[in-house]
Symmetry: C2
Subunit: 628 residues, 2 copies
């Protein structure tokens, strides 16, 4: 892999989605999700916390990660504002930002929990980096500041973020009298790289680099810090620093461990730093860790982190379905990280993972009406798992909102030779550097035909890289209705170099078959099981369409035939799959356990719907993996 990225993502502000998958979600995100999340932040005291009026005995004590919920909402709302000008949202943002700015302490510190809640108040700040999320909250504030500045040009929050970052820079580092710490929950690292990119201030980059480099060094800072608090470091609730990826220096890590969101945010920062500094050793670590995640620990949906107890990873090939934690934020982290890795060489394996997470395990995190959220995204349910209005720990709702609001940013990149198309959806993109507008017309992800029209200010020779997804076994390309058969995809991209003219039309046909997938037999929970995928979309069966209980009685023969039906009225418009499966005879007499006898199987017509839209109808069972 190149040590620095060859590709640059085209910002989401340059991509206008007009499709039936993302565009309605972006609209609902603006119309429902963002107002609702703001209202929840208000109702729970998260916004009022910045007024610093909370006193002991009041309800709703500011929790250590509250500030980050508000910050992520600001980031999401800023992205929305950038594509959907809205004076009221603009005002709302100005108001919240003013309250936040007022809460900032003279030295730049800004954390509502420590300012108002901790008994010893500000003296306690930075005394528990391991558990208390201060730098994590700072990171989200900085991301919000960058987003708001980019969306509006206003410096109010950016100045707050810079002052806070400057203050943090004065506190942490290797210099005399500085704290040699880093955050238990990674986030500030990638935020500081963003701040560096927008301000050009190298000290932010160096601070990010310090945090990443220092992580996991010995003597271990979390040991030192715990002893300073008078605590035995061995009594750390999560037992091992693998929980927060500080068990080893990051360059020595090769197995993904611990809390899944933390891991993804750290690895994203490592990719960012590799690019900014040319430090190839960080990319080498990323590649090892990528194989550990994608080759051994990722759900078919792109979700990661099977275990609730650490919100994260266990061992290789441990992928239970019904008890899967698979936090929405973790799948979003998969998108962040893979999108960053994709920019280095344009290797489609990263785009494949990004697309898998985008169409399945991230977007499942929000209901079609935009008002309810999954924290956990299991791959089977007995009917008791439902999206919620909000959570005490509300990281996922604003995280999915910021992803949706900026999803256009994952579609394209540019490089010195031209443009890369990573994702497909009806849309218009403005590739200013090439004087180019690209219009995609397609029913993707429900159909594999994509028409790409070029609008150019003048004829221009450049390379158009079209992604041929890993799930696609056959594809054809026509340029101006002539079959294009020159060359094969390399690393998942077909490179078409020519002089392009306005009005040129490329039609890409990706064969999109419903296919039964199976897992590596080392995944003990999935031995003998199959799941249906079509294109990038993973399907599931729900009770609403398949009145069989338990759904586990259904088996999917390997040779079963599928038919596809696009149902515009169903679940926001989805392609459903029909097929003749088998169902175990239910007849049973006697006790809970009986000597085994052969089970008869009957044919049964089944209907599968995309996993990402499950639990949007009457509550019932859901299942992705079936016996075959």
């Amino acid at each position: 892999m190149a040590a620095q990225r060859k590709l640059s993502p085209l910002p989401f502000t340059h991509v206008k989605l007009a499709d039936r998958f993302w565009a309605p979600r972006i609209e609902v995100n603006c119309a429902v999700t963002l107002p609702k999340e703001y209202a929840m932040c208000e109702a729970t005291g998260r916004i009022a916390a910045f007024d610093l009026k909370w006193q002991k005995g009041d309800p709703n004590p500011p929790h250590v990660f509250w500030d980050s919920d508000v910050a992520k909402w600001i980031e999401a709302a800023s992205y929305a504002l950038a594509t959907h000008p809205d004076p009221r949202l603009d005002e709302l943002l100005n108001g919240v930002i003013a309250r936040i700015a007022k809460a900032q302490q003279r030295d730049g510190y800004l954390n509502t929990h420590y300012i108002v809640f901790e008994r010893a108040g500000l003296d306690r700040r930075w005394t528990n980096l391991r558990d208390n999320h201060e730098l994590y909250c700072a990171g989200h504030l900085i991301e919000a500041a960058v987003a708001h500045y980019q969306a509006t040009g206003k410096r109010a929050l950016l100045d707050v973020g810079c002052r806070y970052a400057d203050y943090i820079d004065s506190v942490f580092g290797r210099g005399e009298g500085k704290l040699r710490g880093y955050c238990g929950h990674e986030e500030i690292e990638l935020a500081l790289v963003k701040l560096y990119r927008v301000t050009g201030e190298e000290r932010y980059l160096k601070l990010a680099q310090y945090f990443v480099d220092e992580r996991g060094q010995q003597p271990h800072y979390f040991d030192i810090e715990a002893r300073r608090r008078g605590e035995d470091p061995a009594r750390f609730h999560f037992r091992t620093y693998a929980y927060n990826q500080s068990h080893l220096p990051v360059r020595e890590q090769s197995v993904v461990t611990g809390h899944a969101v933390r891991a993804m945010y750290l690895y994203s920062a490592m990719a960012d730093l590799a690019n900014e500094t040319g430090d190839a050793s960080l990319l080498t670590a990323c590649e090892r860790l990528w194989h550990s995640v994608v080759g051994e620990r990722m759900y078919l949906t792109g979700g990661i982190g099977p275990s609730a107890s650490n919100e994260g990873f266990t061992v290789a090939y441990d992928l239970p379905d019904e008890t899967a934690y698979a936090e929405t934020c973790a799948a979003i982290g998969v998108v962040f990280w893979n999108h960053r890795l994709l920019q280095f060489d344009g290797d489609g394996k990263y785009a494949d993972v990004m697309e898998r997470a985008l169409y399945n395990g991230t977007i499942s995190g929000v209901s079609l009406d935009g008002a309810k959220f999954f924290y956990q995204n299991p791959l089977a349910s007995r009917g008791d798992h439902h999206r919620q209005d909000w959570f005490d720990c509300a990281c996922c709702p604003p995280n999915i909102a910021r992803l949706i609001a900026s999803v256009g940013g994952y579609f394209y990149s540019t490089d010195a030779q031209g443009v890369w198309v990573h994702l497909y959806a009806s849309s218009e993109a403005d590739v200013g550097a090439l004087g180019l507008k690209i219009r995609q017309t397609t029913s993707y992800p429900w159909d594999g035909r994509v028409k790409i029209e070029m609008e150019l200010d003048q004829p221009r020779a450049f390379t158009l890289h079209l992604r041929i997804p890993g799930w696609c076994e056959r594809h054809t390309v026509h340029i101006n209705r002539t079959r294009y058969a020159d060359g094969q995809p390399v690393n998942g991209y077909l490179a078409i170099r020519r002089e392009w003219r306005s009005g040129d039309e490329v039609v890409l046909d990706l064969e999109m078959l419903a296919r039964l997938m199976q897992a590596n037999p080392s995944v003990r929970q999935m031995v003998g099981r199959v799941a249906v995928q079509r294109g990038p979309v993973v399907y599931c069966l729900e009770s609403a369409d398949n009145p069989v209980s338990p759904l586990d009685r259904i088996t999917l023969p390997l040779d079963m035939a599928w038919s596809v039906e696009y149902r515009p009225e169903l679940l926001g418009g989805v392609a459903v799959l029909h097929g003749e499966a088998r169902v175990d005879d239910i007849s049973w007499s006697g006790g809970l356990y009986e000597p085994a006898r052969p089970i008869r199987r009957q044919p049964i017509e089944i209907t599968a719907v995309p996993y990402c839209v499950w639990d949007n109808r009457a509550p019932g069972e859901m299942r992705v993996w079936f016996r075959s």
Copy 2:
């Protein structure tokens, strides 16, 4: 069911086990488990707590359920002493009991947590019956007192128990100025019935009756109590009083709910009270609840309670294997309750469940060397579940110790017509009332042939009830080498009435086949799966014998043939099962997920070992249920 019991259990002191299953466990229990548990109680401060010297700032603050751990150890040690006279153990018991007696307050109160730990001290007693286990600890103290008195004739602890019970009687009830409460963790109810039986004091019975009758009445005591503490009752951690079976009056309960151990102890008390008071409505409730447990919620091992979050029940037919909680104490509770129900009519269905739990889900709770304990007894493991030396909440180790020390008490009952044999093992029983000694000679549970020899002071006409287990499809009986074919078993027992003479010999042959079992198809986790059982013993595969990973790759064809091999040197002497199963081809190339293709299966020789002895060798995978 008869409203009062027709049968009376023959005390364990009258049954001397000389077999190769129980006798070695009883020896190890005396030689290793009891000393170790005492040492752990000492090392953790549980015994010193009774000296009432703990002060704020000291390590090891007495926890709300600590007293019960010591009490259960005293009960277990007393049972051991009754069958294995041991002056040193006797002295040890005297010493502990003296320390406990000294801790008793003038009014009879005795709870180390409240006496030394609670800031407001004794004023806080009885303010949180819902959560704080005071009456539960009292119950175990009373059970210990009864056991020690019965074993030694000494009244020291019995007097403590009576004083405490008298005091509790003065505090709780429906009278003016009394607290109308009951314990969140049932236990005192059955203990008071024991105390009543040994002392003849009716007030103890009435107090037990009050606790059982009051449970779940409205207005709800736990609501009242929470409000008195200034707490919102709705903020109960477990949300619903179904957690502690107080959501409804006990006679209105028909679905087993909540914490599994609590449920079993409550139901045991209900059976006891039905017998003592003739209140058939309690038995009717027990029967409904029995069907809810045994017909819908019990593991093949007799374990119950799939969920860790409430240490208990979820919904019908929810029986995950790898994540099963199946607490050792809960399976012990299954034994207690079914043993009580068995005494009413001698219905073998209760003995079947009792035997299932005894040979599988209870005894799995302790290692063969007697030194390590399972709290949870899952039916599959990826190799990361192992017995521990001890637990912060150490209910299981002394519970399994008291069960083993008194297991002989589950073998026989007497009634007006004669004697009932519930369980089989080489042993001698002294049925004094009939002037009868019974000698069993058998390799049970490894073989189904049981020779029963009678020694009588004089010829006597009585009925010998022989249990024909539910798992047995064919049996024969010979009396004095003559085939006995008069009559069929009724409700699981063959009644042989005749004039018995000393030297009479009955040979019972129970056909004991290795059989594949399947679960009701409503158990979604077990659809398409089978497990091997032979006699009362459930088998599992362990990595130690079957080097296939994951073990889930193995399938067991319905028609597979099994051979039995008794291996005296293995795992304390067990019958292992051999058979030719199938194993999925491991060959795999490519990523974590690939389009499905047919999997080839190869024959594989497998060896199954009894579930109850798993995890006694090198750590590895274990599995009970396999695809078929």
